[in-house]
Symmetry: C2
Subunit: 146 residues, 2 copies
DNA sequence: TAGAAAAAAGCAACATTGTTGCAAAAGATA
DNA sequence: TATCTTTTGCAACAATGTTGCTTTTTTCTA
């Protein structure tokens, strides 16, 4: 008999997937769970490792792509050429993300955080340029590594 | 007989390399030239293409690494998992970059610009986090694509 | 300016990461 | 449960990045 926490969690996963019009599959549940139980962001590699030997690499790629498309997770660019993914907490949906927070990468533990309370600043661009999305990534030392 | 412009350019390249304590080689001159005659930033792939069939892929990787180490070029993180490189115009040197400008990626032509006159904004972080470098990438439509 | 020493380039082999088409398996629907 | 639809796994492939070693080029000094 599974533990209470597991049941709740499983229901939450199913609800989230259904809300986004996705069919319920083991890989989607597992990967979504990884995001829910995680403070920071995850790279493709992290997910491959933590999802265990259970899923094919291709499935992870496709699942992440679906999650991004649906507005369930957003991507975070980093300097080391490895995209990180994190849960969207804002009202993102299919085809439009509205993540206006900044990101923080710890030099020490290498964790990537969404700083949901820090709003992206206004940037005054030179004449001729028009801004769409603004991405801010701060690198430094995080709360756990001071 | 080479043209005047070529000679000057060649001297400039040599000077720049010497200033940074690098020996003068064909690949370094060629790749540095690509940056000098380029408005936007270049990806590894761009450089491989434009440097022609003349150099080995490995040489391009190693040359870019040397340029970054020496503070001749800096890297720009992008959302599509392909690092761009651009000339440092600030006083960067071996082991320390001081690029405090923001970057702009055009949705239309996909060019990446260093906006040298737009200074990185101050970011107020939550308690416990200390900031090192701040990276701002704005995505939108550039001056040539309006 | 020739020759020795040092540095860089090229090459080959390999590792990692990402993509695509297709058949099998699993999920949704009625 | 049967049928239709979607997703997965697999295989093959492409692109990107890394490493060790040999050859070539550059630098340095006599
Ligand atoms: Mn985020
Ligand atoms: Mn720049
Ligand atoms: Zn940390
Ligand atoms: Zn443009």
């Amino acid at each position: 008999m599974p533990k209470e926490a597991t049941i709740i969690n499983n229901n939450r996963l199913i609800k989230l997937l259904k809300q986004n019009g996705l069919s319920i599959t083991d890989s989607r549940k597992k990967i979504l769970q990884l995001f829910l139980e995680q403070d920071g962001a995850l790279s493709h590699g992290d997910i491959e490792k933590r999802a265990g030997e259970k899923f094919d690499r291709v499935t992870v790629y496709r699942t992440l792509q679906v999650f991004v498309d649906k507005g369930i997770v957003h991507t975070i660019p980093t300097a080391d050429n490895s995209i990180r993914y994190a849960l969207c907490k804002d009202e993102c949906g299919e085809g439009h993300h509205h993540d206006h927070h900044i990101h923080f990468v710890c030099d020490t533990c290498n964790t990537t955080y969404c700083l949901d309370d820090v709003v992206t600043p206004e940037i005054k661009l030179p004449k001729g340029y028009s801004a769409g999305h603004v991405e801010v990534v701060v690198e430094g030392v995080c709360k756990n590594c001071q």
